[in-house]
C-alpha cells in the first residue's frame, strides 16, 4: 500500500527527487502521520498494557476512552494530557503524544501547563494532578482547552 511505504523507500525517493516540493507532493500520503488512535494503541501494545487500564488511570470515562482507542472520537488537548497520565509518561513523552494528536505542546511559561509538567515529572496520578490544579485555582483537566 502506498500509504505504508518503508522508511528506506522514502529515503531512496528523497535522494532521487529533483527538489523538495516534488518529493513532498509525490509522497504526501506516506508522510502523513498515523492516526492518533493507532499511535496510542501501538503505545499500549509496547507497554504490554490493555487500553482498559490506561483509560482507567487517565480518569477518562470508559466508553469515551475506548472511542479514543478505536478512532471514533478525537481527543481534546486535555484528554491527551490525561492519556499521558494514564500511560505514566514523563513530560517529554507527553509532548510527543500531544504532537502526535496535533495539539499544542505543554508550555512551561503558562502556569497551568507548568503544573501539568510538574505533575508528569513527579509521576503522580491524574487524581493528584487534578487536586493540585484545583488548589492553585486552575481549570481542571477536561474543563478547558482549544478545538476538540
Amino acid at each position: 500500500m502506498e500509504s505504508k511505504l518503508r522508511t528506506s523507500t522514502l529515503f531512496r525517493r528523497l535522494k532521487q527527487s529533483p527538489d523538495m516540493t516534488t518529493f513532498l507532493r509525490a509522497n504526501e500520503k506516506s508522510l502523513s502521520a498515523a492516526p492518533f488512535c493507532e499511535h496510542i494503541s501501538a503505545a499500549a501494545r509496547r507497554r504490554g498494557e490493555a487500553p482498559e487500564r490506561i483509560i482507567a488511570r487517565a480518569g477518562i470515562e470508559r466508553s469515551f476512552g475506548h472511542q479514543l482507542f478505536n478512532g471514533t472520537r478525537s481527543p481534546s488537548r486535555d484528554k491527551v494530557v490525561q492519556l499521558a497520565f494514564g500511560f505514566g509518561m514523563d513530560p517529554d513523552e507527553a509532548q510527543l503524544l500531544l504532537r502526535a494528536a496535533g495539539k499544542s505542546a505543554l508550555y512551561p511559561r503558562i502556569p497551568r501547563d507548568a503544573a501539568i509538567i510538574f505533575c508528569l515529572e513527579r509521576r503522580v496520578s491524574v487524581i493528584e494532578a487534578q487536586s493540585l490544579l484545583e488548589e492553585l485555582g486552575m481549570t481542571l483537566l477536561g474543563g478547558g482547552g482549544s478545538r476538540e
Binding site: A105, A115, F118, G144
Partner: protein, 463 residues
C-alpha cells in the same frame, strides 16, 4: 496547601505575565510562539469564555506598531475578533481579543474541497474586512494576510486574526522600516521596495486565494491553475508586482469576485448569448429591410403606389398585373388618353365580367343619384364624360366590396359629394390606396389602371 502545591509554588510562583492579565484570565494553552511573542488561548475566570491573548516583550519598535499604539482597540467588525483588553507589565504587553471558533484556512483546505463558489465567498468576506481596515483613519494595513491567520467558522463565516505586524499607513513614509510578514504571501514592497499600503493586503489576499485553489503561492503559476478564467484574471491583477497595476481597493476586488460567481457568470453568458441573438436578428431584419428599400420596385410584394401618377413604368406594371389577372385586353393600349365613363364601363364588363345591362343602365329616376339593383352607377352620366377621382373611388370599391358604398351610417353631413363616393374614398385612404391624390379630375387611363391594380391587390391580400 498540599506538599505538592507548596513545592510547585516555590518553583514556579513567579510569572512574567502582567498581574492584571492573570487576575482576569487563566492561560490554558500556547497556540504559537516566536521571538516576537506568544499567542495564548485564555479563559476568562468570571465567565469561562475563551479569548486569545497576544503577549509581546515590550520594545520601542513594537510600541510603534498599530497593535502597540492602541489603533486597533476600537475596531468593530464581524470579521475581526473583538478587542477585550490590554495589559502591561514592565516587560510585557498582552492584548486580548475574542476567540473565534473554527479552523484556520490552512487546515480547512486540507480537510475540505473548496468549491469556486466557496472560494469567492471567502474572498469577498476578506475584502469586506480589508475594506473596513483600510477605511480607518489612518488606514490600518494588516500586512500578514495568510491562510494561518484566516479562521473559517462552522457557519462558513471568515475572520481575520493576528494583528501582530499590522501598521497604519503613514503618508510620506518612503518604505517600511522593518521587514515582516510571511514570505510567500507578502508583496514585493514589504521587503523594503516601498512603503506598504492597502494594495499590499490585496496582493496577499490574491496569493491566499491562489493557494486555496492550487496549493501554490507563486502567483504566475497559481493563476494558471484556476479553472474559472474570471477568477484567474482577478488573482493575476491582485498579485501584480507593481502596486499600481493591482486593484485600487478591496471593494473593487470584492465587486470583481462577486461578478465571477459561477451562477452570475452563467447568467452573464446566457444574457450575452441572448443579446448576440437579438443583435443578429436585428441585423438580419435591418438588412432585409434595407435590401427591400434598395431593390424596391412598384407593385412588388404589397407595395401600393401613388395612385395619381403617369410614370410609364408604374402604369406598365399595373397594366401587366391587370392583364395577368383578367386576360389579354386592348383597353389599356392608350394609357395617356383621358378615361371616359364608357371606357370604365367597358373595363367592368370586359375585364371584371359584370352584367352588361346592369353596368350600362342609367338610373330610372335621374333627378338624384341613388343606389339600385337596376343600375351599377348611381349617376346618369353620358359615356363620353371624363372620369373624376370620386366616381372612380366609388367604382373600384363597389367592384370588390359592394356593401361598403351603400353604408353611409358613418357620414355626418353631406358636403356635396355623393355619400357612396365619400365612404369609398375614406376606405381607400384608410388602407393607403389613395396616396398622391389631391382631388383630381379628368383622370388618365394609366392612373385608373393603377387605382384598379392597387385596389385589387389589396382585395387579394385581405382574402
Amino acid at each position: 496547601m498540599s506538599e505538592l502545591s507548596d513545592e510547585f509554588t516555590d518553583r514556579f510562583g513567579q510569572s512574567a505575565y502582567p498581574a492584571g492579565f492573570l487576575d482576569r484570565f487563566e492561560p490554558l494553552e500556547c497556540l504559537g510562539s516566536s521571538a516576537q511573542g506568544e499567542t495564548l488561548l485564555v479563559r476568562e475566570r468570571s465567565t469561562g469564555e475563551k479569548f486569545v491573548a497576544k503577549c509581546y516583550p515590550r520594545s520601542p519598535e513594537r510600541e510603534a506598531s498599530a497593535e502597540g499604539s492602541g489603533l486597533l482597540t476600537g475596531l468593530e467588525h464581524p470579521g475581526l475578533p473583538r478587542f477585550a483588553g490590554e495589559f502591561l507589565s514592565e516587560t510585557m504587553r498582552c492584548v486580548v481579543r475574542q476567540y473565534r471558533e473554527g479552523a484556520p484556512l490552512s487546515q480547512f483546505v486540507q480537510e475540505n474541497t473548496v468549491t469556486t463558489a466557496q472560494l469567492i465567498s471567502f474572498g469577498a468576506q476578506l475584502c469586506d474586512i480589508l475594506t473596513y481596515l483600510h477605511s480607518q483613519t489612518p488606514p490600518v494595513i494588516h500586512r500578514d494576510v495568510k491562510p494561518q491567520n484566516i479562521i473559517v467558522g462552522p457557519d462558513g463565516r471568515v475572520s481575520l486574526i493576528d494583528f501582530g505586524i499590522a501598521r497604519s499607513y503613514r503618508a510620506g513614509a518612503r518604505s517600511d522600516t522593518a521587514c515582516y510578514g510571511t514570505e510567500a504571501f507578502s508583496p514585493p514592497e514589504q521587503y523594503g521596495f516601498s512603503q506598504t499600503d492597502c494594495r499590499s493586503d490585496i496582493y496577499s489576499l490574491g496569493v491566499v486565494l491562489c493557494w486555496v485553489l492550487t496549493r501554490r503561492t507563486d502567483p504566475a503559476d497559481a493563476a494558471k491553475g484556476a479553472e474559472n478564467r474570471s477568477v484567474a484574471k482577478i488573482l493575476r491583477r491582485c498579485t501584480a508586482f507593481d502596486p499600481k497595476n493591482r486593484y485600487a481597493d478591496a471593494r473593487a476586488v470584492r465587486r470583481a469576485l462577486l461578478r465571477a460567481r459561477p451562477e452570475i457568470a452563467a447568467r452573464r453568458r446566457f444574457l450575452s448569448g441572448l443579446c448576440a441573438g437579438v443583435l443578429l436578428a436585428g441585423l438580419v431584419f435591418g438588412g432585409v429591410k434595407l435590401y427591400e428599400k434598395l431593390t424596391y420596385s412598384p407593385f412588388t410584394d404589397s407595395g401600393y403606389v401613388n395612385t395619381m401618377q403617369t410614370d410609364p413604368a408604374v402604369v406598365a406594371d399595373a397594366v401587366a398585373f391587370l392583364k395577368q389577372r383578367h386576360g389579354a385586353t386592348d383597353l389599356f393600349d392608350n394609357t395617356d388618353d383621358y378615361a371616359t365613363v364608357g371606357w370604365v364601363k367597358d373595363i367592368l364588363v370586359d375585364l371584371y365580367r359584370l352584367d352588361e345591362t346592369y353596368v350600362r343602365a342609367k338610373p330610372l329616376d335621374d333627378s338624384a343619384p341613388h343606389e339600385s339593383d337596376h343600375n351599377f352607377l348611381p349617376w346618369a352620366q353620358g359615356d363620353e364624360q371624363y372620369m373624376n377621382y370620386y366616381d372612380c373611388a366609388y367604382i373600384v370599391v363597389k367592384l370588390f366590396w359592394p356593401d361598403k358604398v351603400a353604408d353611409w351610417s358613418s357620414l355626418r353631413d353631406d358636403n356635396g359629394e355623393y355619400p357612396g363616393s365619400r365612404v369609398a374614398d375614406a376606405f381607400l385612404v384608410k388602407n393607403g390606396l389613395r396616396d398622391g391624390v389631391v382631388r383630381p379630375t379628368d383622370l388618365m387611363k394609366g392612373e385608373l389602371a393603377i387605382l384598379f391594380a392597387n385596389t385589387e391587390r389589396f382585395y387579394l391580400s385581405q382574402r
